[in-house]
């Protein structure tokens, strides 16, 4: 009885780790992406205007 409950716990533990907290990473990645995109368009419009 005690053995099987131990095994259950071992199996359940990794499942909880499968959903990492990625909100900060998401904001950082999208922020960097938008920065690159916006910079590209600013330079493009400077080129066209000259």
């Amino acid at each position: 009885m005690s053995k099987s409950s131990l095994q259950m716990k071992k199996k359940q533990a990794p499942k909880e780790e499968e959903q990492p907290e990625l909100k900060g990473t998401f904001i950082a990645v999208m922020g960097l992406g938008l920065f690159i995109l916006i910079s590209w368009f600013i330079v493009y419009f400077i080129f066209v205007a000259r």
Binding site: E18, P20, L22, F26, M30, G33, I36, F47, R50
Partner: protein, 168 residues
Amino acid sequence: MHLHKYEKIWLIFGIGSLILFLVVLGVGAFYKGTHPPSHLATIDPQNVQAHESFMDENLGLRQVGEDQYLVSVIASAFNYNLGTDEDGKAIRTVRIPVDSTVVFQVTTTDVIHGFQLAGTNVNMMVEPGYISSLETTFKKPGTYTLLCNEYCGTGHHIMAATVEVYQP
């Protein structure tokens, strides 16, 4: 394979951006015909005067049509050869009327030089053995400094001339 919801979003965003910029590059190169300024035109760097465009009498500004000009320049350490005036003095300023089409064609007799008109899109590398050419239309009158932006030696900083765009 399990992917986090956020991972899917930024992968789509990243791959989408990559595709967008490759399409922009492709349209520019194959449809609009945008190529590097030193595209395919070659010249003997030891004897540039043998080329019609770089003969002494053809250097500097030439009018080739109504509102169409050609500027031929030989870059060398540390000077832009824009030809000579009636008195035989070296020309340091080129005067071009506003809204005319200008083709700059430049070559070098020694090392790599830069050819930049500060504040405009005229900006190219000048390599020995190649003729770099670039077409532009000056929309705003003003005095633009022509300068070397590739370090070419100890006198690099004095390598400059002037292009004056005037309202006729």
